[in-house]
Amino acid sequence: MLLANLVEGMTIGSLYALMALGLSLVYGILRVLDIANAGAYTLGAYVGVLTWRLTSSWWLALLAGAAVASGLGWLLQRHLYVPILASGPIVPLIASIGVFTALEEAYRLLFGPYILKLPARIPLPTVRIAGTVVSGVQLLVLMVAVAAFAGIALLLDRTRTGLAWRATAQDRETAEAMGIDVGAVTGRIFLLGYALAAAAGVLVAIHYNAVSPTMGDMPAYKMLAIIVLGGLGSPFGTVAASLLIGLVETFVAAYVGFLLPRDAIAFAALILILLLRPQGLFARGVAAR
């Protein structure tokens, strides 16, 4: 049972990490609390359903979802966030809330209020370890998550875009003065960040076999809590915080029960941690301002 909860917690944590990672990258580059990222998560799921219905292919669904959503991300940064960046942090937040509201309503109007299914078959075996069942979908989630983390780690560490991201995240103006094409970096990060959110959406849709217009409500605020816990704008802190939250939630549920609403527990813990460590649990130089 310990092992089972561990697997369960890791799966949930990985899903959280996929959702939060994109948001964290986007936050790092623009310092915008981007609620609309959760709209991309839902968009990915719906595009995934449509693609799966046409092609019956789970990986095409994943790719199509990510592609369409990254287009949305690029448009948003170019035509919405960057132009109003000078107005302080609250204004872009409100803009992203407007986008999120409009997107959720558009999904409901286009696809109806009812749950859609995405019963894709994953060509991975169900693994049994010491009496614990790990389903093919769970394996896929873990694999995609690991691949995404590794890819982003390489990107940030080894590529010019990664270097530019780190420089811009630290100080946008200085980066610009040093000759970094901040606009292009921002565009690329949004492509990536929204693609990640959408990939998470497709995986969630397959894992839970359910897509609905309001599925983004929970990630919209919960991912904010996770990236804060990880130290705002620190991708590795974000992954660590996601896994931590996934595990804690699972173990609390397993040994204590749904004591309080899941999110209230997460947020109460967050407030306590922030009071003790105002810069977040895993903050490194980048985030501490």
Binding site: M1, A4, N5, E8, I12, E105, R108, G112, P113, Y114, I115, K117, V133, S135, Y208, N209, A210, S212, P213, T214, M215, D217, M218, E249, T250, F251, A253, A254, Y255, G257, F258, P261, R262, D263
Partner: protein, 405 residues
């Protein structure tokens, strides 16, 4: 100093003007039916003026799936009442508003229905929050209202004009306990429920009755809307020796529970409630995985009543999916209202009397024996079992002592 003062004053004055202007716009701009001069003149028997029935449901927002079901059923009911000649020779007109799952909007809608639309009576197709907020306004203005499926006991408590169409949570919970303990032999029961008034009131009734019948409750857990992870809870409760699970959830959460229940290969009896009584939100999602689950609800799919079969057929033909508990309850509310209007008259007092004196009315959701003096419905609880991914007849709980709220 004085310049600033003037500026502030101007800003305030401008705001006041804007406030008033926008009210005027709000007043004139909204409302589907434009002609409302005649009001609810109950006396004019011969007139062909339509009888307006007000309706509100969460057609947008997080509860939009139920709102859509309720709205569809309301349209179907009104069309059928009109096809059969209306009420006292007058057609019925539906005045339908979306409350967006927001209590403040429900209050505005209630006032609009009363003062601008001049409706004769109202059906709430909404959840408890909105229904509770709207009820006192209808009560103060003596407009009869039927809550189609909201379960909060505060609703009928509002006053003499407010009726509750679905059984109280306590009654359904008790019926669930009889099913779980007496019929399915549960001894150590695990309870998993949604954390709102629906979940709490059912669990309260269930726990009391189950304990009286000699079973023990090994754990009770409440989860919030959108919960997807039940595996840890299921495993923990199994480890505690649970031999039966009582599940009080809505479709989206219930279907996730079933998914994990099957993934874990649990072979214990599972008792559900009307919350998962939905094809679009539950059965369609879980398919045959829920086979064997028994739920307490109000719609018997295998009913011998031809009206039920006709309703299911008509609804499915028109909206492309079978009706659920929400749809059936909403549909019934309109026919109960029509029955009261036909038998006693159209004034608020007459409708109120008509509803209060209903006896043994054959509704889609079972025979309504009567309303209590507190305007809570007394009717048997249907037990439905999932077979081949469809709800079918399992039994009925009609012990008068149990179904009396």
């Amino acid at each position: 100093m004085s310049r600033l003062n003037r500026e502030t004053r101007r800003a305030l004055a401008a705001a006041a003007v804007l406030l008033i202007a926008t009210f005027a716009a709000a007043c004139g701009g909204g409302g589907k039916p434009a002609s409302n001069a005649q009001g609810n003149n109950a006396g004019s028997q011969g007139s062909q003026a339509p009888i307006k029935i007000g309706f509100f449901a969460p057609e947008s927002g997080f509860a939009a799936a139920d709102g859509q079901s309720a709205q569809d059923a309301a349209k179907l009911a009104v069309d059928e009442i009109n096809r059969s000649g209306g009420i006292q020779g007058r057609p019925v007109r539906l005045v339908d508003y979306d409350d967006g799952s927001d209590a403040k909007q429900a209050v505005a809608i209630a006032n609009k229905l009363i003062n601008l639309d001049h409706v004769t009576a109202v059906v709430s197709g909404s959840y408890s929050d909105q229904t509770l907020a709207a009820a006192p306004i209808f009560q103060r203005n003596h407009v009869p209202m039927i809550a189609a499926y909201a379960v909060n006991p505060g609703i009928p408590n509002t006053g003499s004009y407010i009726f509750q169409q679905s059984f109280t949570g306590t009654v359904e919970g008790r019926a669930g306990a009889v099913l779980a303990v007496s019929q399915l032999g549960g001894k150590k029961i695990a309870v998993v429920a949604i954390d709102n008034d629906f979940g709490h009131s059912l669990v309260e009734g269930f726990t009391q009755e189950a304990k009286q019948l000699g079973a023990s409750i090994v754990a009770t857990d409440y989860n919030q809307f959108g919960e997807k992870e039940f595996t840890p809870i299921i495993q923990r409760d199994l480890a505690k020796g649970a031999d039966l699970f009582y599940l009080v959830e809505y479709g989206p959460e219930g279907s996730q529970f079933i998914r994990e229940w099957n993934a874990l290969g649990v072979k214990k009896p599972l008792v559900g409630t009307e919350g998962v009584d939905s094809t679009t939100e539950f059965l369609q999602v879980v398919g045959k995985q829920a086979d064997g689950m028994v739920i307490t609800t109000n719609l018997d799919r295998d009913s011998q009543n031809p009206e039920v079969q006709r309703f299911v057929k008509d609804f499915t033909a028109r909206f492309g999916h079978p009706p659920d508990m929400v749809a059936a309850s909403t549909y019934d509310a309109f026919f109960v209202l029509a029955h009261a209007m036909r038998s006693t008259g159209l004034s608020p007092e007459e409708i109120q009397k008509g509803l209060a004196s209903i006896r043994d009315f054959d509704a889609i959701t079972g025979k309504i024996l009567r309303y209590t003096s507190n305007r809570e419905v007394v009717k048997p609880v249907q037990l439905q079992v999932v077979k081949n991914g469809e709800f079918h007849h399992y039994g009925i709980v009609d012990d008068p002592a149990l179904i009396q709220p």
